[in-house]
């Protein structure tokens, strides 16, 4: 029996939908107070992921205070992030600020010889005073050549929202990646920070599928930068990587559009996009993913009972909102009132967006007070929102889930589907238990 390549056997949901309903769907675009973090916050998980990198924010006391507050607890004696706090003397003249930065970097590298990659991270104040961190990175790279690679990106709030900081960071890494040639063996690059355990699960699945040349960006160490070039096909593991995807495409790499790997359907579609690109036999694909799918369905079952028909409202936070809403709706039968997202990149979240019902309001950007009015009027059963809103909404009688946990927890892949569902059902279970 001749086996058929998967993409001819099963119509790809992406191909069928990419130009579909999503482009016509009305989107509420709002402008006003945004209750979200700036891009500097990405340092919290990026420094855990790239284990020999240091993140130096060039900013104000506010930046230092933000990162410290977002990190929640000071677990690390000397964390691999810090702030070079600009003071009034630096504001007097820019030449001085550059010299000061050189001095701070020299002191830092002296203290931390284990650091192999240093990111100079721009902030609102450094952008406004036009401190040129890309030139500073070049200058410092040659000054510390051979010891440490120095890159820069901006995590400023005037340019980036929360997870866009990771996008800016990874985009700054792309020019550093070894360039592979068109003639090199086809390679798969998975882009976006994932928990190590999830990364390892995906790596095993790709191996079982017969895709061997698989790399991950960001890498766990700056010494193992993955190659990228015309032979590279990449899957986005996170929905907020607009600039990184563009930079990879400029290198000749090809994006494999897919749903994001959340839940059974998301993970299957995501893996299938790679399988299709590698012409993997459909039977083999199905056999490979079947055990994971079966486990995920088992794990999801008790949560569907708890979440089915529950009316859910998403405040914008990480750009994961559309894929998460898709998971809640199509895999747990939740009812979606509003899915708010800071930015809507239809090219990347199109497949997830198309799966959402027409009755769900999709909003982009934020005017928090108006959105709170809508939320109160809709009386949802579950509100997904940031830490600044959660307790006040709980005090008003709403059940909430803090969205940051959806980003910080390992939630992708078959074996995390149950964990992801549990993050949503736990607040409901808790409220049902309490009698105070």
């Amino acid at each position: 029996m001749t086996s058929t390549a998967i993409h001819t056997l099963i119509p790809s949901p992406i191909a069928a939908r990419s130009q579909g309903a999503c482009s016509e769907r009305p989107i509420l675009k709002e402008r006003g107070q945004r209750e979200v973090f700036c891009g500097l916050t990405g340092i919290i998980w990026l420094h855990r992921k790239i284990q020999d990198a240091f993140f130096l924010v060039v900013g104000s006391r506010t930046c230092a205070h933000l990162i410290q507050s977002a990190a929640g607890v000071m677990i690390f004696a000397e964390p691999r992030f810090a702030t070079a706090i600009i003071d009034e003397r630096d504001l007097a003249g820019l030449a001085d600020a550059n010299e000061e930065l050189d001095r701070v970097v020299a002191r830092l590298l002296e203290r931390r010889p284990d650091i192999k990659m240093l990111f100079l991270v721009g902030s609102c104040p450094s952008e406004v005073i036009k401190l040129d961190l890309s030139r500073a990175a070049q200058r410092l790279s040659s000054a510390h050549a051979g010891k440490v690679r120095i890159l820069n990106y901006s995590g400023s709030g005037i340019e980036t929202t929360f997870t866009q900081g990771e996008d800016a960071c990874l985009a700054s890494l792309v020019p550093e990646l070894p360039l592979s040639a068109k003639t090199d063996a086809p390679a798969l690059l998975v882009v976006g920070a994932l928990a190590d355990v999830v990364e390892d699960q995906f790596a095993r699945l790709f191996t079982e599928l017969g895709i061997d040349n698989v790399h991950f960006l960001p890498p766990r160490s700056s010494r193992h930068l993955p190659p990228a070039g015309p032979n590279t096909k990449f899957l986005l593991a996170q929905p907020f990587l607009t600039d990184t995807a563009r930079a990879l495409e400029q290198r000749g790499a090809t994006h494999l559009p897919a749903m994001f790997p959340l839940g059974v359907e998301g993970t299957t579609a995501w893996l299938k996009a790679a399988a299709a690109a590698w012409n993997i036999d459909a039977d083999k694909f199905n056999a490979t993913v079947a055990p994971g799918q079966r486990r995920a369905r088992t794990a999801l079952e008790p949560h569907r009972f708890r979440l089915s028909g529950k009316r859910v409202f998403f405040f914008p936070d990480s750009q994961l909102e559309i894929p998460l809403a898709r998971f809640l709706y199509s895999e747990l039968s939740a009812d979606l009132i509003e899915a708010g997202t800071p930015y809507l990149h239809k090219g990347h979240v199109g497949a997830d967006l198309d799966a959402l019902p027409a009755t769900t309001l999709i909003s982009e950007g934020q005017d928090v007070d108006k959105q709170l009015d809508r939320c109160r009027a809709a009386k949802p059963d579950l509100v997904i929102c940031g830490l600044g809103l959660a307790n006040p909404l709980e005090a008003e009688g709403f059940t909430t889930k803090w969205s940051i946990e959806l980003l910080f927890s390992p939630v992708q892949g078959f074996d995390q589907a149950g964990d992801l569902a549990e993050l949503f059902s736990r607040p409901l279970v808790r409220r049902a238990r309490l009698e105070v």
């Binding site: 945004r34 506010t62 810090a82 701070v104 794990a299 600044g388 307790n391």
Partner: protein, 540 residues
């Protein structure tokens, strides 16, 4: 440019937020970029406030910089007024908005709102959180109480005979270290002296209450870092004396009572004898002798650090080996205090300097902020928190003041509990080398369940070594415990390695569940598949 890993204080506009959030009926319009709203979570998460801070942010973006950020500020201020209808408004800029020089004060004035609008100038590149709180409180007091100021040179006349003296209690804010309970304790103390509390500010008051500050006979300044400047101005303007003693500890509380008696002429004798002041007896009871001469390192804001040193030295019999503060504005006071203990004060806001000092001084107890708690934890030194910066743990559900006689009781408990009791210490020294009692031995009452982990069938790499609370790997060879005889399930190396990736605090449970699952299915070995099959199986 200063290299900063962790900071003791936020920027000055956070101080302004602490004032605004402490009050009702006041709204803060802050010219700030996206991201500065992080500050809301300090109040909603750390302090567990049930309302959002009364702050509206303009949230300007890069594209606004080329157009009109000033217009954005005006629209935002107007919308905030319409929505929240506050009694008064404060307006200002965060660090980035300061650079674009839009003059929020002038812009807000141009709106001609029918309420007092108080402009704040908080230089973000020079000053810090406590300074910002003090300046904000001062500006609010000056604007709102100042509207009722008497003619210059006014002298307060003696009150009519029989009328009880009145005071304001100043300085308590949102996100303050035990401010909620200190206000309650000191209010109770003052009431028991026959003194009426006119206004507590800013904690829990309204702009209309600030306007009444001048009606009191004197001011009680609980936190000079925040209320000092306002109290000085009230003294000049309304001829209101203010208290200088911080009533932390029994001795200082008595001094405070004497000070208040001196100002008001009330008889302090009835409140001196406090049956609830248990700490003086506790510290004299014999078991406390083990506290004698314990070496203590103290760091915090100036007021709390100075007060803690006095309590540690005079009321617990400790030896103060280090004293310092991050409040540079109060460095002189701390240096003076340090001389009392024959030491040099540590004045720094670099927490690495503090860590170095703690390491060098080798104290037996650290009294500090959350930063020192982490330093102490790393160095294995007991620690109690005495000052901001705060953490969610510093907002206990129970009543837990630092000030007054009950505060002294709280200090006794919280500083002594991290230490090992004298008798316990004695017994430990006696049995230190006992075969069942050495550091590595499993607790005897846990019996067989505390058996050491069975060695994995295949040697896992060192980073995958299981670390469970329930199976200490202690060199428990001394206590003979047999391996389980009922046919062990073998962990394959890869599965063992995978298990190592699971967070340590749930790893023990994951291992047990997987083994139970494998046993139920009569499996001989556990693969990665088994691990995740079990995970799915138990997920409900």
């Amino acid at each position: 440019m200063q290299l900063t890993l962790w900071t003791y204080e936020g920027p000055p506009h956070i101080g302004a937020m602490r004032i605004a959030t402490a009050m009702d009926g006041l709204h803060y319009v802050l010219h700030a970029p996206q991201g500065d709203t992080y500050a809301d979570l300090l109040f909603t998460m750390i302090e567990r406030r049930d309302k959002r801070p009364p702050v509206t942010y303009t949230t300007f973006q890069a594209r606004d910089l080329g157009s009109d950020t000033a217009e954005l500020f005006k629209t935002t201020a107007l919308d905030a007024y319409e929505r929240f209808k506050p009694e008064a408004m404060i307006v200002g800029a965060s660090c980035t908005a300061e650079l674009i020089q839009d003059d929020p004060g002038g812009l807000a004035k141009a709106l001609a709102l029918p309420i007092p609008v108080i402009p704040l100038e908080l230089p973000a590149y020079q000053k810090k959180e406590n300074w910002g709180a003090a300046e904000t409180f001062y500006q609010i007091v000056r604007a709102l109480a100042g509207a009722h100021a008497p003619a210059p040179g006014f002298k307060r006349t003696a009150r009519l005979d029989g009328a009880s003296p009145t005071c304001n209690i100043l300085g308590a804010t949102a996100l303050g270290f035990r401010h909620r309970d200190d206000v309650q304790e000191i209010s109770k103390l003052l009431t028991s002296m026959g003194i009426t509390v006119n206004v507590v500010a800013p904690y829990g008051c309204r702009p209309s209450d600030i306007a009444r500050l001048g009606e009191a006979d004197f001011n009680v300044v609980l936190y000079p870092e925040i209320a000092g400047q306002a109290a000085q101005w009230l003294k000049r303007t309304f001829d209101q004396p203010f208290t200088k003693v911080i009533p932390i500890g029994v001795g200082a509380t008595r001094d405070f009572i004497a000070e208040v008696a001196g100002i008001t002429g009330v008889d302090p004798a009835p409140v001196f004898a406090q049956p609830d002041a248990r700490s003086p007896w506790y510290t004299r009871s014999v078991d406390s002798t083990y506290l004698t001469g314990k070496r203590v390192f103290i760091f915090g804001d100036a007021s709390h650090a100075i007060a803690a040193a006095r309590v540690a030295s005079k009321e617990l019999g400790f030896t103060v080996v280090g004293l310092g503060t991050y409040s540079r504005e109060f460095a002189r006071d701390v240096r003076e205090a340090a001389k009392l203990y024959g030491i040099e004060a540590l004045i720094t806001d670099d927490y690495l300097d503090v860590e170095q000092a703690v390491q060098a001084l080798n104290p037996e107890l650290v009294l500090g902020t959350q930063m020192e708690r982490h330093i102490a934890k790393r160095l294995g030194v007991p620690c109690a928190v005495i000052s901001a910066p705060v953490h969610v743990q510093d907002f206990p559900a129970r009543y837990s003041p630092q000030m007054g006689f009950e505060g002294a009781n709280v200090l006794f408990d919280t500083w002594v509990h991290p230490l090992m009791m004298g008798l316990e210490e004695h017994l430990l020294a006696m049995f230190r080398n006992d075969f069942e009692f050495h550091d590595a031995a499993a607790p005897s009452h846990l019996g067989k369940s505390a058996a050491p982990a069975k060695p994995p069938a295949h040697q896992a790499p060192p980073d995958a070594q299981p670390v469970f609370a329930d199976t200490p790997q202690a060199g428990a060879s001394i206590t003979p415990v047999e391996a389980d005889a009922s046919g062990p399930v073998i962990w394959l190396a890869e599965a063992e390695k995978e298990l190592g990736k699971i967070p340590f605090f749930v790893r023990g449970k994951a291992r047990r569940n997987t083994e139970r699952y494998a046993a139920d299915l009569k499996l001989k070995s556990i693969s990665i598949e088994t691990l995740y099959d079990a995970k799915a199986h138990f997920s409900r």
